[in-house]
């Protein structure tokens, strides 16, 4: 998207702002956390060190990347409004949606580059861990691993879209943090909670009613837990990728696109003071 001439200035300024927000430093710390957590976790496993290392590495990646995205969104949108940079960036003779789409493209591209970089390093570390102990079920670092990362990228794209909408409508940058994290936790957990309550109704009283209420969230939030297909990489079997992956993927990306539409609508009507 940044290659089109109309968005290029916004993309360039977005990358500069991201670098000023210490994106490289964030990326370096993310690598240290993910690789360190994977190596330490592997030490705790008696039978499957590579599997546990990969599992924990993916978990840290899945938890930390939304934080990096939120920092970028805060820098590229909230700070823009706080510091009144919009007096420059939005006074050009072009529509506001160009500014928004350019910045979203920068956040999405930088987080995708970060995901691929950390993913490569994680795969290398896990391969090295795997050489120390021959597991009965080795991890699959080929296609299943990269498919898992692709689904994670879709998950992060949805998070980026929601964070962008919140950044446009929110008054304070901290609301972007709270709102996006709340959304991510709810969207990633509700379907699993419904499944656990169905299997174990003794966890809460009136589990059926409680489960029905949580199930209603399915009409409000995308099922991001279904996009977590790491079992295919952990145990080397495509069976763990749900049959309905295409509809889940389309639904989730459509949900994110909807929020981008709302964000464009909001920024077109936003009154800057």
């Amino acid at each position: 998207m940044c290659l089109t001439s109309s968005l290029r200035p916004d993309c360039v300024s977005g990358v500069r702002l991201a670098l000023r927000a210490r994106f490289l430093s964030i990326a370096a710390w993310l690598v240290v956390f993910v690789v360190g957590a994977a190596l330490l976790a592997a030490q705790f496993s008696a039978r499957q060190p590579a599997t546990v290392g990969l599992d924990v590495g993916l978990s840290v990646l899945r938890l930390a990347l939304p934080l990096a995205i939120i920092i970028l969104v805060q820098e590229l949108f909230s700070r823009e409004f706080d510091r009144r940079y919009f007096l420059m960036s939005l006074t050009y003779p072009r529509p506001r949606y160009g500014f928004l789409l350019g910045r979203v493209a920068v956040v999405a591209t930088l987080s995708a580059v970060l995901l691929v970089t950390v993913g490569l390093l994680l795969a290398g570390v896990i391969w090295w861990v795997g050489t120390g102990y021959e597991q009965s079920t080795p991890v699959a670092l080929g296609a299943p691993y990269w498919v898992t990362l692709s689904f994670l990228a879709a998950d992060l794209l949805v998070v980026t879209c929601v964070a962008t909408f919140l950044a446009v409508v929110a008054v304070t940058p901290s609301f972007v943090l709270v709102g996006t994290l709340g959304f991510a936790i709810a969207a990633r957990s509700y379907s699993t909670i419904v499944a656990l309550l169905r299997d174990h109704p003794d966890v809460v009283s009136h589990a059926d009613r409680y489960g029905d209420s949580v199930e209603l969230l399915g009409y409000l939030l995308p099922d991001l837990a279904a996009l977590d297909t790491r079992m295919a990489a952990l145990y080397g079997s495509w069976t763990f990728v749900p049959e309905s992956w295409a509809i889940t993927l389309l639904g989730s990306v459509g949900y994110g696109a909807g929020f981008i539409g709302l964000a464009i609508w909001a920024i077109q009507r936003k009154r800057f003071s």
Binding site: A46, V52, R62, L63, T137, L196, H200, V203, T239
Partner: protein, 272 residues
């Protein structure tokens, strides 16, 4: 406004005074209820705690078991049962969970719960021969259910790529009631103890081996008694009065052995 720093100092001093007085006042404490076992947080709550990541919850709980599950007694077994079950709920495919859980629970007074872990793992790990194999071993040796054991070992043979012939042979021998060698379980545990790198796990397996050897001693003594007297054993005390045993074997896990329907079995933990 001029006196605001003074106000601040006065109120901070008052706060420090209240902390000092509270720290030097002896107040009778209400008796606290005794702690029975460690806390295990349910799977849905763990899911929320870890940002909706069930795999992270399973891994961290499995690490906690590896680091803290080394005690003995009923409260420790009850803790292990709950913790292993929560891991299985979050990720039934977790290999460490079913493997260590089976070793610690099935021979640690909770054979039903150990077998349940294996059943869940066998469902999730549909390609893996080990969960049904261990399940069959438990059914054969602990539950004396040859038919269930044979089915489980046949399932393991279907899944196996390198041990098909050996597993099929075991299943056939079970059907023909040829496998009566209960030392098989002890041999297997000794092998696992040698492979274990963690000293804590080694010590835990050692206790279970001693417990199992105690059971074998009782079963051998029963067989000897019945051959000598020519009638089934009615009470374990008859082994002492007949002079076959001087004392009953001691269970290092302090759960004991049971004599039910004329058969010695490993005692089970009573979960309240």
């Amino acid at each position: 406004m001029r006196f605001s720093p003074l106000f601040a100092v006065v109120f901070f001093l008052a706060f420090l005074g209240s902390v000092y007085i509270k720290g030097h006042t002896v107040t009778p404490h209400a008796p606290q209820p005794a702690m029975e076992g460690r806390v295990v947080i349910s799977a849905p709550v763990q899911l929320l705690m870890y940002g909706g990541d069930r795999f992270l919850g399973a891994n961290l709980e499995a690490m906690r078991i590896a680091a803290t599950g080394g005690g003995t007694g009923e409260s420790n077994t009850a803790y292990l049962i709950r913790a292993h079950h929560v891991v299985a709920e979050l990720n039934a495919c977790h290999e460490d969970n079913y493997y260590i859980g089976n070793a610690l629970l099935s021979l640690g007074g909770a054979q039903d719960e150990g077998s349940e872990l294996l059943r869940l793992a066998a469902d999730c790990r549909f390609w893996d021969e080990y969960p049904p194999f261990f399940y069959g071993l438990n059914e054969l040796f602990l539950n004396r259910n040859a038919q269930a054991a044979q089915h489980a070992i046949e399932e393991a043979a279907k899944r196996s790529t390198s041990n098909v012939a050996a597993l099929k042979s075991i299943a056939i021998r079970i059907r023909a009631a040829e496998i009566g060698d209960e030392r098989l379980m002890v041999t297997y545990l000794n092998h696992e103890k040698e492979l274990a790198s963690d000293p804590g796990l080694k010590a835990m397996l050692e206790k279970r081996i001693v417990r199992l050897e105690g059971l074998l001693l009782l079963r051998e003594a029963q067989e000897k008694y019945e051959n000598q007297v020519g009638r089934p054993l009615k009470s374990p005390d008859e082994l002492l009065t007949a002079g076959i045993l001087r004392i009953f074997p001691e269970d290092p896990l302090r759960i004991g052995y049971e004599f039910i329907d004329g058969t010695f079995r490993l005692g089970q933990v009573k979960i309240r």
